[in-house]
């Protein structure tokens, strides 16, 4: 089984974080939730692999611990 890569992998961690928050600027909570949903779907498709996605769902559901 392939595992989700949870080692640092972002080329510019701070830059990405800033862009993520900026993408939500000026949105209502509903609009933000919708954006997040679209983002998850886009990224999930990029990952593609079913095992990795299920592993990610498990890890996310476990609140990071």
């Amino acid at each position: 089984m392939t595992d989700l890569n949870t080692a640092p992998n972002l080329t510019d961690a701070d830059g990405f974080y800033e862009a993520l928050i900026a993408a939500h600027e000026g949105l209502t909570p509903e609009q933000s939730t919708a954006l997040n949903a679209r983002l998850i779907l886009l990224l999930a498709n990029h990952v593609g692999d079913r095992d990795i996605l299920l592993d990610a769902l498990r890890k996310a559901r476990g609140t990071g611990r």
């Binding site: 939730t33 919708a34 949903a37 679209r38 998850i40 779907l41 886009l42 498709n45």
Partner: protein
């Protein structure tokens, strides 16, 4: 003339069985002359198995029920000798569109390849479908096939003991008793036979109501399946439009759970809903209005000794996906040949356990698909709604999101991949869709079609290879058929059955499911596969 569903097509007639001193005994009694019971009776009659069909009614089903009949159903009906009249009467379609709010987000083609005799779907009112099957039954009777249908014969009790199955039947002349070796219960979702036998029927109820309106109108919508999520004319809900024969259109509007059904059904409330959808100027007349709710559930087992449940009596699905009648007809397709071999003594009675296993597997697949569609169409939580809308929102611009759009995964036949009737898959790199367990895929052969040349026996098919005669020795009727890929200009036969091989040998069951395949003829291997496919005797 009265509409077809208003005519007593098989009126009650007193049968000599009602005056018999001792209950008359029949090898097979089928209860319920819906699409599934009719298909089972036709199949058995064609195999010369004497079959008695009982129904509490004397006519075909009224009102709006099934309209979408799938390719596999048409192929089964071809085998039963009535595919063509169904296609002639029906409206053929392969394509669909999906709308979200006011935008078209997605188009699909369910049969994007050539080289099939039958289309992905026809739309045809269930009463027309049943009427065609009844007509075929009359033809078989005229040919002297052993099939009888008795109208207004309502089964009111079923008991079983070592000597067989006893049925109490209520008629306009009072009750009488019948005995059967085998009973096929095609008596619908409320199956009285299931209740008489105290059997379970568990599953999930969906809290939603759908308004069905069949309207007659002149309209120039294309013959496609149109599905709307959250359209302006039915905010927060879904809608579906389908063309039927006779200038009739099926409109299906989701209403939600908290409604007053009686009020919603009133014409004065239905008409404005339809005008909102079709436009104020649209000229139409109402043929039928009903409201339905649905459930997804199945019996734990479909075979109880010699009582077999088939169709809605055994399983129920949501209508999204048109998997009700279509899957029930595959039940009939699956059980008829097994019953024939068992009654002929050429297969052990335990073969019927494979009916149970294969069709339970198919029912689970259908329930899974229709449950997933329903959860997409009617999201059950706020976040599920958010994701649903996100998928629809992305689908227009981003192809990746389109396979996630689920407005109904339309009926396809089950592949019984894990069935113990399957023999070896010894064809190196053989195409996936014709692996053992799969229903044979059609392809052009000369001026005709592969499926129509398979007939009703077990078939040993040689492609680009000759085969010796299989008759003699084996007790099972095996038809030997050889074809050449040269006979198919499209190259479909090669692609669907050979892959990169130059030749192949296929063993195909009477229901046209593939049992085993090899690169060359091997008498011993074929014998073993034949034994497995027929339940381990022969």
């Amino acid at each position: 003339m009265a509409d077809i569903f208003e005519q007593a097509l098989y009126p009650y007639r007193r049968s000599p069985d009602q005056d018999a001193a001792a209950p008359a005994r029949h090898p097979v009694i089928v209860v319920g002359a819906g699409p599934v019971g009719l298909a089972a009776a036709l199949d058995l009659a064609l195999k010369d198995v004497p079959v008695l069909l009982l129904d509490d009614n004397d006519r075909v089903s009224t009102g709006s029920r099934a309209i979408c009949f799938a390719k596999r159903t048409l192929e089964i009906m071809d085998r039963l000798g009535c595919g063509q009249p169904l296609v002639d009467k029906g409206v053929t379609w392969n394509k669909g569109k999906v709308f979200f709010d006011e935008r078209k987000v997605y188009e699909f083609d369910l049969l994007a390849e050539a080289g099939h005799r039958r289309p992905a779907f026809i739309n045809l009112q269930q009463f027309h479908f049943e009427a065609v099957l009844l007509e075929r039954l009359r033809e078989l009777q005229a040919e002297g096939r052993p099939v009888e249908i008795r109208g207004r014969n309502k089964v009111t009790g079923v008991t079983r003991d070592d000597s067989g199955i006893q049925l109490t039947v209520e008629t306009p002349d009072g009750p009488y008793t019948l005995e059967a070796d085998w009973l096929v219960a095609c008596d619908g979702a409320k199956s009285p036979i299931r209740s008489f036998m105290g059997l379970d029927f568990h599953g999930r109820i969906f809290e939603d109501n759908f308004l069905i309106a069949d309207v007659k109108m002149e309209a120039d919508f294309p013959t496609e399946r149109w599905f709307w999520f959250d359209p302006p004319f039915n905010r927060g809900q879904s809608a579906l439009l389908h063309k039927q024969p006779d200038g009739v259109w099926r409109i299906d509007l989701q209403l939600g759970w908290d409604i007053d059904r009686e009020v919603e059904m009133r014409e004065e409330n239905v008409i404005p809903r339809l005008k909102a959808m079709l436009g104020e100027e649209a000229k139409f007349s109402l043929e039928w209005i009903s409201i339905y709710t649905f459930q997804c559930r199945r019996m734990e087992r479909f075979a109880h000794g010699r009582v077999l449940f088939a169709g809605d009596s055994a399983h129920q699905v949501s209508p999204f996906g048109a998997r009700g009648a279509n899957s029930g007809i595959q039940d009939a397709d699956n059980l008829a040949w097994k019953l024939k071999l068992i009654l002929d003594g050429t297969a052990p009675e335990s073969l019927m356990e494979s009916y149970n296993r294969e069709r339970v597997q198919a029912a689970d697949e259908n329930i899974l698909n229709s449950t997933r569609s329903t959860d997409f169409i009617t999201p059950k939580s706020d976040i599920s709604h958010v994701f649903r809308d996100a998928v629809l929102d992305l689908a227009e611009a981003h192809p990746f999101a389109r396979p996630l759009v689920n407005s109904g995964r339309l009926s396809v036949p089950a592949t019984h991949a894990g069935s113990d009737l399957n023999g070896e898959d010894a064809l190196p790199g053989g195409p996936e869709r014709t692996r053992p367990g799969a229903p044979a895929v059609d392809a052009p052969v000369g001026d005709g079609w592969l499926l129509e040349s398979l007939g009703t026996d077990i078939v040993l098919l040689g492609i680009n290879t000759s085969l010796p005669d299989m008759s003699g020795g084996d007790t099972l009727p095996v038809t030997v058929l050889t074809i050449e890929t040269e006979d198919d200009r499209l190259g479909a036969l090669r692609e669907r059955y050979l892959g990169r091989n130059e030749q192949a040998v296929y063993l195909i069951r009477p229901d046209q499911h593939i049992a085993a395949r090899w690169p060359t003829y091997d008498r011993k291997a074929i014998s073993a596969a034949l034994t497995a496919a027929t339940g381990g005797m022969s």
